[in-house]
Symmetry: C2
Subunit: 350 residues, 2 copies
């Protein structure tokens, strides 16, 4: 008997490496945005009043929730704001998946889902994607305690059409269905319009990818206000004040600059399509990506070897040593210059 | 049957009111610090590089953990940093209180403790404080799944002597003992030196009070590195990146300005002692406070009536409608000017 016996044992999620290397590093392993945040954010930083920091922030990050609501055509009480979409999704798991029935999600998807089910002791079952890594909607018509689907999916990058998502939502009136749209701005079709139609739907998005704000930790959920109120109750039962005053102020500036958002996301999408074509010419097979990364496999060379070789050249991509995808690489779309450097290194290697 | 049946029902913590009023407001209800953060924080805000915000922050907030470790004479891996001490304490509950035995804490204490036990489904028992609102250490010598003690206690403001804390820690080698020192800088005796001696001790502190940083959400735990590693594993299983880059940078600036910290905390303590004396002259009984608030009761007038009257004058203090303390007010120490205004309103009323 020891105090250690009372401690919760968990298998933590392993985020992509944040390497410390000498010299130039090309970091294409955690799906960060290659361009800086909006110039409006610089203004917001310059005008942050230090005096306000002595006071507790707004508990629901109301100014930011309002800005997000306005951007997407919802009311403020239909928006929940959290510390990155991981915080928002963890809250969804804790709030909405509180039954003895299994939660359903695909076998290949964001690798945090089974970490949350583990820590919150939620039963779950994974549904295998088909051979083309696509969701089979009929898999989600069985008895369940909730459903979570990343769309576009990670790490495949594949987007399911909106009618597939709608069929899953409409077949499950007795479960909350969470659609994790971390990458939707790069080419997916958002389920946000369905929130007006289905009371059991929660759509989660993030500022970490398309709004260049991984460092500020901002994510949000949009759902009918009854579900948002349940999320707030759980949040208030853990930490009433999660969003600091700087995140609220800088986040408002980021979401309000829609022009910069459209321009920079457009650049990433153009780079992605160009790089995809080039990689295919080099013998790679690339899944169709609706995200800011490509999921690729090479017809001759093992993915792990390419991964290790790139690392020796200070180029970091992501390799998952998991069933079905252990011959693939996930490559974040960087600047054109970064991608050209990666391609020239790949050419040398191949 | 409905999707609502799968949703977790919770009784959320109710934080102090953040009133929206016209005109001048004297806010003495949430124990915020009356002086602004250190001038070094202004410099940190001005030098925040927006470009860094596109990248994920350091998962363990390492630069801030290092600054805290240096300040208190520990190693970086003996420090855990979270989104305010609420985040740190919630993590402690989830990590360390994972048994079927009851967690013990006083009947009158920080009102979040039973909210966390509720949401994480942890059994608990409360131990009554004595008639002078003091901890009886023998209450904590029974079988338990962990112990949490706020010292100084809230909302009483009373500090237990360090030998009482040490006796509780040393009598419980099979439990983790968490000492919540949110208010320690205003006059309590910290248990930090005991961390070197007891492997089952976790000390939690916050930047929200004495470092004028409620708005930036920074709290920390110090314990032996084995316990800190367990806390990090749980954190990584919920949200790998909780501390945004601004909080890390501004927090380092705040903790490094020890001179400003000592000066401003000294001012608050001086104001507290002066106000305590004046209130006693007005017929109040005030517990001895080792915090930045006074817990007072009036010999003739009901606390609730005084609370309501102050509110009509735009002066907000805290009233808890709970057994044993429902004739007390908790009054945060503001600036001398704010306290003088409150005293003159009280004089009118009495």
């Amino acid at each position: 008997m020891s105090y250690l016996d009372n401690i919760r044992k968990v298998t933590p999620y392993v985020p992509g490496e944040q390497p410390k290397v000498e010299g130039e590093l090309i970091k294409l392993n955690t799906n960060e945005f290659p361009y800086p945040p909006s110039p409006k954010v610089v203004e917001a930083i310059e005008s942050l009043e230090v005096e306000t920091l002595r006071l507790y922030p707004n508990t629901t990050a109301a100014p930011l929730a309002k800005a997000i609501a306005d951007r997407y055509g919802f009311d403020e009480d239909e928006v929940f704001v959290g510390v990155g979409s991981d915080d928002v999704l963890a809250n969804c798991f804790l709030t909405f998946f509180s039954s003895d029935k299994p939660v359903l999600f695909p076998d290949i998807t964001y690798s945090f889902y089974d970490v949350w089910t583990d820590i919150y002791r939620i039963p779950y079952e994974t549904m295998p994607l088909d051979d083309d890594f696509k969701i089979k909607k009929e898999d989600y018509y069985r008895r369940n305690g909730g459903i979570v689907i990343a769309n576009p999916n990670a790490p495949t990058g594949i987007a399911a059409p909106l009618d597939v998502i709608e069929d899953i939502v409409s077949h499950n009136p007795d479960s909350v269905v969470v659609i994790d749209e971390a990458y939707v701005d790069f080419g997916g079709e958002s389920a946000l319009p369905l929130v007006k139609k289905y009371k059991n739907l929660v759509v989660v998005q993030t500022f970490s990818k398309s709004r260049a704000f991984a460092g500020m930790r901002i994510g949000f959920a949009i759902a009918n206000k009854e579900l948002i109120s349940c999320m707030n109750n759980v949040k208030f039962a853990i930490n009433s004040y999660t969003m600091n005053s700087a995140a609220i102020a800088y986040g408002v500036a980021a979401v309000n600059d829609n022009e910069y958002f459209i321009e920079t996301v457009g650049k990433v999408v153009a780079t992605r399509e160009r790089v995809k074509k080039t990689l295919e010419e080099l013998g790679f097979v690339s899944l169709n990506s609706a995200t800011n990364f490509l999921f690729v496999t090479h017809k001759d060379k093992p993915a792990k070897d390419i991964f290790e070789y790139l690392k020796t050249k200070n180029i970091y991509v992501r390799y998952f040593n998991k069933p079905r995808i252990n011959n693939y690489l996930r490559i974040t779309i960087g600047t054109d210059d970064q991608m050209d450097k990666m391609i020239s290194v790949l050419k040398e290697y191949l």
